[in-house]
């Protein structure tokens, strides 16, 4: 037991207690949390900061607005409706096609306008939000996953989670939806985490339920072949999220859209630790490197991304 403990220390693995006491409560000001806990606020903030994100089509805040839903959806072939304060990917409705009054979900199932209206009403009632608080429904553009990922994900769009410490991306992992995870990119629901090399964007290792895995259980693709295109742009976008939020210890979730390139999906002020298992790398060495002031100060997001690519990746 004690040897396991000191081995983890040696590997620089960050534990939950240390994450909470040392990083989240020290670098993330409480008053900033609402900025990331509410996806609508994050989106508006991203617009101001020129951080690319899926286009906001509209919002629905009051129950009576659901009657006008038909007008709002007029002319939209594909779109996403999601709760602003939802957690773990709950309440997200993805429509990929439409024929008059019939809408086709990403799973292929068809839903009527009436059903969409009820879904929106449930969102507003707080069915999917934390502690059941009343919520706002967000209507936004559908993301078209980059073709590079076709063989790696089942149903859902894969996203890339970056841990960003004081503006420096320090660790990255791609999250792939599986049948087990019900198309959601949430690790504890059974999504696969593929650790990525900070220098190249190539896969290091992969885990499902905290255990190493080699092949995607649904598509059979060899996970170590995964390689992220436009890697440097992605790092830069992740680094920009710090300037936007001022959260010192941040999880940035970024997707790669086939047409628009890297887009910010959402932010997390309490990012999980499984990313260390996926990338076979402890967070602490890189975090302390920055904390002890060894990384340069006053860099732009681009310079920080560069630094992560060249210097942090080898720590």
């Amino acid at each position: 037991m004690f040897s396991a403990y000191s081995q983890l220390r040696e590997k620089g693995v960050l534990g939950l207690n240390q994450r909470n006491v040392h990083f989240i409560s020290r670098y993330n000001e409480r008053r900033l949390f609402p900025l990331v806990d509410d996806k609508l606020k994050t989106k508006l903030m991203a617009g101001e900061a020129h951080v690319n994100a899926p286009h906001l089509i509209g919002t629905i805040q009051y129950q009576h607005e659901t009657r006008d839903l038909e007008n709002l959806l007029k002319g939209l072939r594909e779109f996403v409706i999601k709760p602003a304060k939802g957690s773990s990917g709950k309440g997200i409705l993805v429509i990929v096609d439409r024929s008059e009054d019939e809408f086709v979900k990403s799973s292929g199932a068809k839903v009527s306008l009436q059903e969409i209206r009820r879904h929106v009403s449930n969102i507003l009632g707080g069915l999917f939000s934390l502690a059941g608080k009343p919520d706002i429904a967000i209507l936004e553009d559908l993301i078209h996953s980059d073709p590079a990922f076709f063989s790696f994900s089942y149903e859902g769009v894969p996203d890339i989670r970056f841990i960003v410490f004081q503006g420096f991306p320090v660790l990255a992992m791609m999250r792939l939806a599986t049948h087990r995870s019900d198309g959601k990119a949430n690790l504890h629901q059974g999504a696969i985490g593929v650790g990525l090399d900070l220098a190249t964007g190539a896969a290091i290792g992969a885990v499902q339920f905290d255990r190493p895995i080699e092949f995607h259980p649904d598509t059979g693709a060899s996970l170590k072949d995964l390689r992220i295109p436009a890697w440097k742009d992605m790092l830069e976008l992740a680094a920009k999220c710090y300037d936007m939020t001022k959260l010192g210890y941040l999880g940035s979730d970024i997707v790669l859209d086939a047409k628009r390139g890297p887009l910010l999906l959402e932010l997390n002020a309490r990012p999980g630790l499984a990313i260390q298992i996926a990338s076979q790398t402890g967070l602490l060495h890189r975090l302390t490197h920055i904390e002890e002031g060894k990384a340069p100060k006053g860099f732009t997001a681009q310079q920080r991304a560069e630094y992560a690519l060249k210097r942090l990746s080898s720590l």
């Binding site: 037991m1 396991a4 403990y5 081995q7 983890l8 590997k11 693995v13 534990g15 939950l16 207690n17 240390q18 006491v21 040392h22 773990s88 709950k90 449930n122 009632g125 707080g126 069915l127 502690a131 059941g132 504890h188 629901q189 885990v207 905290d210 255990r211 190493p212 260390q276 298992i277 076979q280 402890g282």
Partner: protein
């Protein structure tokens, strides 16, 4: 180390030391036992005064014992049919006085006390002797006086101070084959009087004290007299019959500072006898009674009405549950449903006992979950949904209570001890967890919660823990200091050693 960290450690340390000091103070100076089952000896002593009243008014006056090193007076009662009673404090001792205007024939008066042995309360240092405390001289004829002078002279030569002088005198007086003069003195006077006469001749301050040998089950015991010699600002104790020094442990001094023990005016043939009984008593109860009598324990919860005591006792146990939760979550890393739900569950277990409590809780929550799964299908808003769950829980509580009564179980009120709101929220949380994370997570968290509750209950039901938290307020700051310390623990949780095992190459 940063200064804020230093301040933090100082706060933790002072909480710990403060709590410890309070516990030690209560234990060592007030005598509150650290272990609940600790026993202490309590002596029940009855002093019986018998005398024949000559026709007319009677005053009987008895010197009384005081709390002294090794013995503490717990309570005293004066019993005396028809007599007026009062306790009078004189300059250096207390006396009980019985008075009656008209009495005739044999009379009986009682003075009963309870004295605790093995006590920590130390008697105050004896006051220096009053200047006029001269011992009454004995009537001694010239020939004997000459013999006395000679012995005093010889003892003075052989001694270096009051104590060695006393030892020499006692040696003369207790010799097996004494000189003729000494033999005569011994025959005419009692040994205590005689010793004091010699000591007075040698200009040594001394006084007579009386003591009662405590022996279980003795009756018709009498006081014995002893002599105390004043030297180096202290009184030294001597047994004039044997020359033994120092007060024997089983001796209770009686009427220290009094020249006479029993005075009866208007009576004759007065007699003072004692009967003695020993009992083992719960130390806690007798100490508390004593502290209460002395008015020394103003902050004891035992001074409150019983109902309030029960409330406070329940409250005092909650920090124990809290520290268990902190430990399990921060050090071990167990997941529970609702942070402090297990503590409230443990409090309920105290009423129901562990096994019946666990069974009842699982029954109600399990059935509740079943009903709740229907509620979630009809899409209710949160508050109405929980309200509905509360009513369902009430219904289930009544149902199970009636069922268990039908089946002849004894503890049928078990189901009613669980806080309704806690049960409803537990059902709500479990049900959401089931939908979001699946049954496995529900199982993990419910097992975690039940294990935490059982552990908290086990600690909260341990007699020594209960005893410490009820009787020593200092226990709480000590718990707080540990909780604060654990609050800054940034090491790995035990469960993380397993979670991250694939990172260390340890497959």
């Amino acid at each position: 180390m940063s200064s804020s960290r230093l301040v933090f450690l100082l706060i933790v340390l002072s909480l710990f030391i403060g709590g410890m000091a309070q516990i030690l103070h209560r234990h060592f100076t007030l005598g509150v036992p650290l272990i609940p089952s600790e026993q202490r000896q309590v002596w029940f002593i009855d002093a019986n005064i018998d005398f024949d009243a000559i026709k007319g008014s009677v005053v009987a006056s008895l010197a009384l014992p005081e709390t002294q090193t090794g013995y503490t007076l717990l309570r005293e009662d004066l019993i005396s049919p028809g007599f007026g009673v009062s306790v009078i404090s004189t300059q250096n001792h207390r006396r009980a006085e019985w008075t009656i205007a008209e009495a005739r024939g044999p009379q009986k008066l009682y003075y009963k006390i309870q004295v605790a042995a093995d006590n920590h309360i130390v008697s105050p240092p004896a006051p220096p002797p009053p200047q006029d405390a001269a011992n009454p001289p004995l009537f001694i004829d010239d020939a004997l006086q000459q013999a006395i002078d000679q012995i005093v002279l010889e003892a003075t030569k052989k001694s270096a101070g009051p104590l060695s002088f006393t030892r020499q005198i006692i040696k003369f007086l207790t010799r097996d084959s004494p000189e003729q003069n000494v033999e005569l003195l011994r025959a005419s006077f009692d040994s205590g009087d005689l010793l004091i006469t010699f000591l007075t001749q040698g200009n040594i301050i001394s006084r007579r004290v009386y003591g009662l040998e405590l022996e279980d089950g003795r009756r018709r015991q009498r006081l014995k007299d002893y002599v105390e010699v004043y030297a180096d600002e202290k009184w030294y104790f001597f047994d004039p019959r044997t020359g033994e020094e120092g007060k024997p442990e089983n001796l209770l001094l009686w009427g220290q500072g009094a020249t006479s023990i029993l005075d009866v005016t208007g009576g004759r043939n007065s007699k003072l006898t004692f009967s003695i009984l020993r009992q083992e008593q719960n130390a806690l109860r007798s100490v508390l009674t004593q502290l209460d009598d002395l008015g020394q324990d103003r902050f004891s919860i035992y001074r409150l009405p019983l109902e309030d005591q029960a409330l406070l006792k329940g409250m005092f146990l909650i920090p124990i549950g809290a520290i268990v939760i902190v430990f399990l979550r921060v050090i071990v890393g167990i997941r529970t449903s609702g942070t402090f739900m297990p503590v409230l569950l443990a409090v309920a277990f105290i009423q129901t006992e562990l096994a019946p409590g666990l069974i009842s809780f699982v029954l109600i929550v399990g059935t509740g979950l079943f009903v709740r799964s229907y509620l979630s299908r009809i899409n209710l808003l949160l508050v109405p949904r929980i309200s509905a769950t509360i009513i369902v829980v009430i219904g289930l509580t009544i149902l199970f209570t009636l069922l268990s009564q039908q089946m002849g179980f004894e503890n049928i009120q078990n189901f009613a001890f669980f806080p309704l709101i806690i049960m409803s929220w537990t059902i709500e949380r479990m049900s959401i967890l089931w939908e979001e994370e699946g049954p496995k997570e529900v199982l993990i968290q419910s097992l975690g919660s039940l294990a935490a509750a059982s552990l908290a209950y086990t600690l909260m039901a341990t007699p020594i823990v209960r005893h410490l938290s009820f009787n020593f307020l200092g226990f709480q700051p000590i718990l707080l200091s540990f909780i604060l310390l654990m609050g800054q623990y940034t090491g790995y949780r035990l469960t993380e050693l397993r979670r991250f095992r694939f990172l260390t190459g340890d497959k």
